[in-house]
Symmetry: C2
Subunit: 343 residues, 2 copies
DNA sequence: TTGTATGCGTTATCAC
DNA sequence: GTGATAACGCATACAA
């Protein structure tokens, strides 16, 4: 309701508005004495500069918008944490939006951010080609966008992610080492049949001379957890009855990999004896899982941290020079071996 | 960089700024024809109303600020999800800040929000009496604050949380039922020795005629996971060597309870045979844990949802009438039994 | 060293 | 049915 303004300070102190403004901004034009008087009065009365007004005037809001699929996701929330950490070192603050894996909502989220006047956007796209022209337009004409996690390949901008091929290779090589080549690969279906993780997987198989069997790949709908469970358990049940039983499972995401453990436990399938399990996961309590989970870990904090830093960099650069700064950074994953692949 | 304004539309269409504004706001003063012309032009040119300006003019930002300890926390992120869901049904959007369990940062976060001109604040306080006078001042004079999860008891406002006593009672009664009365209670130390969860626990013990043994209570520093592990495992190790071995563990938070499972697994202590485990937890994949975890589940989504709704309600009410709306809502927890307490 | 005037994008009041 | 103008809070170019 209240919140004192510069104008009121001016009236109270018998000075002009502009003098107050200058005093508060420590301008050389104002005498030390006046400054002191103003600053003291301001502090005493809890003066809070109105950022809306400042932004409106200055043409920049010092706010970064972020769009992720869902806050409520281990992987995402770790990245957000990294972004927040990076933001502490800057003057920028953060507004988070959720796309809920929905292309339209992704666009709505960005629109909301633009109306708020964000200076730049950090986006983990819903899919590899969602809103392509729209994003390009925004990135060119409104404010810079930096992509992280998933890539919208055609968008010309800075991208931060992980080296999937390498991560997948790490996992597969380990499975080969423990002689588990009949691998069921479980992934999400958001990205169509030809997403980069699937492609990397196939390529890795080829490199390692493991034939790709379509029956050993399951794409499930990540939008609904019950559905995930259902799809996975059904698939496993069928495969275990078939002549070519899998002896390993490789999960493409956190949720998939961890849920798979639960399903196997309920089906009383022994891990790793009957089926070894490994997958991308950033759950920070892997030892509490049944059994402790071998994972391909992604440097989430670093992804978030870097993404913000790079965006800030772009913002500090004149628009026409930004293109030169565009880069794609693929961070290395690390493999952590635990009981789920330990014979 | 660009982003067309009302002024530019006016110039392009040979109309006045005010007419454009009215047309865009569907005012009855403007002819349908003109409206159509304006709206079409606006859409065509991706006109985005500048919310900063609107807020500055209107004196309200339609933004709600949220302060939580950490986004990167299962419990918190579920609540945030609930808040976001609730916000979809309103015109408000959300800005999230992290206090990182730090009283000063909590205050800084709120200051940042106030500078941004938020209309109201949703706060999960760092502790039961952090920033009391400050919060009271803000709540009285600047914008309403609604508390959730943890309570700052002295602040007169709406509070949304869970019925801890009842939840703890559920857990203890179950432990009694399976004849596990030698219970190690593990909690956080943020709130001092006399926080409400500890008090509720002691009271429940008394009601159930279980003597309270100070040796069977561990308060650990939730700020650092390695430290948590160290404190818990040391404590368990010592107790298992002593004459009065515990046969159950009750964890006060998500992190504590799940980490305890991991520690027990590594110590090769059998759950539930040697030690049963139950605790507050909202991890949504309890079946993947070792063993599947019995939990006291808190209705996180609902907490968030309600908190936002109640705040919106306050905002829709004249300030001097708000006091009448203040209420404290304690939602019921539910107990979910799984193997970790199943003999 | 201080004050005046102007504008950021929008809406509301009042006049035409 | 439309337009001119002031105001929201702040910063800045310019005047004094």
């Amino acid at each position: 309701m209240s919140n004192i303004t510069i104008k009121e300070i001016a009236k109270a102190l018998g000075l002009s508005v502009s003098s107050i403004s200058k005093a508060l901004n420590d301008s050389y034009e104002i005498s030390d004495e006046t400054k002191k008087r103003v600053v003291e009065y301001a502090k005493l009365n809890n003066y809070r500069p109105n950022r809306l007004a400042k932004s409106l005037k200055g043409g920049q809001s010092n706010t970064i918008g972020i769009v992720v699929c869902s806050i409520n996701n281990i992987f995402v929330s770790q990245i957000l944490d990294g972004i927040q950490k990076a933001s502490y070192e800057t003057d920028y603050d953060i507004v988070i939006m959720q796309s809920n894996e929905d292309v339209n909502r992704e666009k709505e989220s960005i629109e909301a951010l633009l109306k708020k006047g964000v200076d730049g956007i950090l986006l983990a796209p819903v899919s590899e080609n969602s809103n392509t022209e729209y994003l390009a337009d925004v990135n060119e004409n409104i404010c810079p966008i930096v992509l992280f996690d998933r890539f919208n390949l055609s968008l010309k901008t800075t991208k931060i992610g992980v080296n999937e091929s390498k991560g997948i290779m790490q996992a597969l090589q380990h499975l080969i080492r423990i002689d588990r080549k009949k691998i069921l690969f479980i992934t999400g279906d958001q990205f169509g049949e030809e997403n980069s993780r699937i492609n990397s997987y196939k390529k890795a198989l080829k490199t390692l001379d493991i034939p790709f069997n379509p029956k050993f790949m399951l794409s499930c709908n990540l939008g609904n957890n019950d559905l995930i469970d259902q799809q996975i358990s059904e698939s496993i049940k069928n495969l275990m009855k078939s002549s070519i039983k899998p002896n390993a499972i490789f999960g493409a995401t956190d949720v998939i990999t961890i849920r798979t453990l639960g399903i196997l436990a309920q089906m009383k399938i022994k891990v790793p004896d009957e089926i070894a399990v490994i997958g991308f996961s950033n759950f920070d309590m892997p030892n509490s899982l049944n059994p402790s989970l071998s994972t391909i870990r992604q440097p989430t904090q670093e992804i978030g941290f870097l993404a913000l830093k790079k965006l800030i960099n772009l913002l500090a650069t004149q628009q026409h020079k930004r293109r030169a700064l565009h880069e794609t950074i693929l961070l290395d994953t690390s493999i952590e071996l635990r009981k789920s692949t330990n014979l």
